[in-house]
């Protein structure tokens, strides 16, 4: 009897948590892809949240527009990104840095980013490794 109650109680808790998990999942899932992958599957990603990883093309950052624009690239593809977020752009974001932009595709084919994360170009480390160990 106690066992039965226990199983029912446990099942209720687990089911409730699973539901919360599912709701949270729908809310926060984002596709994490590179610019190349993006180019090959752009059609499937309309209306979905995407995290796009690539390198900022040197000289492409245009701060004169009302919304800052820049181009990110991976091996063979490039895409124009328009920043529509309100957060301050991190200091590490500059020509050549690795950027992760989160947002979705805009009507004109550009990518509208609500958030930008940037890492320093890892060239420093690579150069150091090359110089020291090869």
């Amino acid at each position: 009897m106690a066992r039965m109650k226990f199983i029912v109680g446990g099942a209720v808790i687990v089911a409730a948590l699973a539901w919360m998990g599912f709701v949270g999942f729908q809310e926060s899932k984002a596709y994490y892809i590179t610019v190349d992958e993006y180019a090959s599957m752009a059609g499937d990603l309309h209306g979905k949240t995407v995290k796009l990883a690539g390198d900022v093309v040197a000289g492409s950052i245009d701060r004169t527009k009302p919304r800052m624009e820049f181009i990110i690239e991976s091996r063979t593809n490039k895409i124009k990104v328009r920043y529509i977020g309100t957060d301050i752009i991190p200091d590490t974001f500059k020509d050549g840095s690795k950027a992760l932009v989160e947002g979705n595709i805009a009507g004109d084919g550009a990518f509208e980013a609500r958030r930008i994360e940037a890492k320093c170009a890892s060239k420093y480390e690579a150069e150091y490794k090359k110089r020291s160990s090869s």
């Binding site: 106690a2 949270g24 301050i88």
Partner: protein, 545 residues
């Protein structure tokens, strides 16, 4: 000095391999002398890793930048304080710290039990040495902290190379917490090896009693405390150093240290049932196995680059070895549990839903659910990549959505669990026990509500915090009153003596009290407002309403 450190590391590996096989042979042939020699080898291995660690310390302080690890993480102008941190500021050296701690803990455990549990100890020793051998070989062969820099000359020959200065410690890591945080956290991960080793030894020798639990209780508690302290320090560091505006970001590396903590918390609670009531034996063994494995998994996440994180070392190519090791431990432990399941039957059944036992079981269920949710969320990018070929990431909203209700259920159980009696609680005694906590909680809800706060989770959290707080105060108060009556002590002395006489119970309440403090702090997050903007001179910005 580099050769010396390197040699010590290799010698420690040989010694621990010897200790592993000698322990197993000694046990199977019932030769106490061979087991003794295995124990001595384990001591020697600890000595060797200590020397190896000391060698790296010396090399760091003498600015020997011919060592790759030191050139990468230290520099001439780095303060002495941070030179210590530089040892674990990069991958190879932090691995040596890990190995050093593991060997040291193994030696202490073996010394503590040198004349106890003679039938179980060889197997304990063997499990400890398997872990030590694994990490020592990774450290020596794949991430050697004594590796020297070389350069290729024009004629194609290799030559040693020593840069004029090192790259220095990443400025983000130059924070006081960085000097104590990794050592504390590592001890918090490694310590779970000890109860795990005793659990496996108990399975092999068929002594599924409570010996292995009682004898490792203090290790488990200490490890749990250090892991918790490590988590809090990590939060402090992130809050001060990283510009996230927060102390917790559900980052993979943070998650991977939270998971063993959650599982370890479940273990700490559920072994009490095995001790008191002889139930949940298989469950407890699985819990400690998972806690240990999650600790290894945490190092795997941090060092393999399988998921990207702000705290992680860059990809070190060790991932496969970790996966193989974890799979092997999992399969071997589960096989052992399956083979012994006939003697691991519960001695009793659950009597009632309103009992201490069932509160503990619910506590376990909820903690393991939280752990699974965190695991799922952390690994989802990897799983989704396997299954659909596209990486899908999950962010804070997912983790919060599921873990806030879990946390509140846990807080509720923290309050009501200790008020339930073992086996069965009568409604009358529940009414008496719940009276003041429930009234106080209701008053707090009313005050908060009148104060104009309508945030649902905040109100619930405050109510539960009050409930737990009042129930703890009441427990101390009632106990002290009884002592004052019977022993004639002053009230203050009665409170102190009460705690010292029954450390387990009242110590537990003190920990619960601190958990309430943490929850109250987390609840404040509901009112956190963060706005980032660029302002021109004279321009104003209003935050919140």
């Amino acid at each position: 000095m580099a050769e010396f450190g390197n040699f010590c590391l290799l010698f420690a590996l040989c010694l621990s391999l010897y200790a592993l096989f000698a322990a197993l042979i000694g046990a199977s042939q019932r030769q106490p002398r061979i087991v003794k020699s295995a124990e001595k080898a384990a001591f020697a291995a600890a000595g060797c890793t200590t020397l190896s660690f000391a060698a790296l310390l010396y090399l760091t302080f003498t600015n020997d930048f011919s060592i790759s690890h030191i050139a990468e993480s230290s520099s001439r102008d780095l303060a002495v304080f941070y030179k210590i941190a530089a040892i674990w500021g990069a991958h190879d050296g932090s691995m040596l710290l890990w190995v050093f701690f593991t060997a040291l803990l193994c030696a202490i455990v073996i010394y503590q039990n040198r004349s106890r549990y003679r039938d179980m100890m060889p197997y304990v020793l063997a499990v400890l040495m398997i872990d030590l051998c694994f990490f020592l070989s990774l450290n020596f062969f794949l991430s050697n902290p004594f590796k020297q820099l070389t350069q290729v000359l024009a004629d194609g020959t290799l030559q040693k190379f020593m840069p004029a200065d090192g790259r220095g410690l990443n400025p983000l890591l130059q924070h006081w917490a960085m000097v104590i945080h990794p050592p504390i956290l590592y001890l918090g991960f490694i310590g779970f090896l000890i109860p795990f080793a005793f659990a496996i030894a108990a399975l092999i020798t068929g002594q599924i009693g409570t010996t292995w639990i009682r004898t490792t209780r203090r290790w488990t508690l200490l490890t749990w405390l250090l892991l918790g302290a490590g988590l809090l320090l990590g939060g402090k560091w992130a809050y001060v150093v990283l510009g996230w505006g927060g102390y917790w970001g559900w980052d993979p590396v943070e998650n991977s240290s939270l998971m063993p903590w959650l599982m370890g918390t479940a273990f700490l609670h559920s072994v009490i049932i095995q001790e008191r009531r002889g139930m949940l034996k298989i469950w407890n063994t699985i819990l400690i196995m998972l806690t240990y494995l999650l600790g290894v998994f945490g190092t795997f996440i941090t060092r393999s680059g399988v998921v990207s994180s702000v705290h992680a070392f860059s990809d070190s190519g060790l991932g496969h070895f970790f996966l193989i090791y974890m799979a092997a431990v999992l399969i071997a432990s589960l096989g052992l549990i399956a083979a012994r399941r006939s003697i691991m039957k519960s001695e009793r059944q659950l009597d009632s839903l309103l009992s201490r036992e069932s509160a503990f079981v619910f506590n376990n269920l909820v903690l393991v659910a939280a752990c699974l949710a965190v695991f799922f969320g952390t690994m989802f990018p990897v799983f989704s990549k396997w299954i659909t070929g596209v990486q899908i990431t999950l962010d804070a909203p997912f983790f919060n959505k599921i873990n806030i209700p879990i946390g509140l259920i846990l807080l509720l159980l923290t309050g009501v669990g200790p008020l339930f009696a073992w086996r069965k609680t009568s409604l009358e005694s529940l009414r008496r026990a719940f009276f003041w906590p429930a009234i106080s909680a209701a008053v707090v809800v009313a005050v908060v509500f009148i104060g104009g706060i309508r945030h649902f989770y905040f109100i619930i959290c405050m109510a539960l915090c009050t409930f737990v707080l009042v129930s703890i105060v009441e427990e101390f108060f009632k106990g002290a009153l009884v002592r004052r009556e019977t022993k004639g002590e002053s009230f203050a002395a009665a409170v102190v003596n009460l705690t010292l006489k029954n450390k387990r119970r009242y110590g537990g309440y003190i920990v619960h009290f601190s958990i309430v403090m943490i929850f109250a702090g987390l609840a404040g997050n509901a009112f956190n407002r963060e706005t980032k903007a660029q302002l021109a001179t004279g321009q104003e910005l209003r935050i919140g309403s």
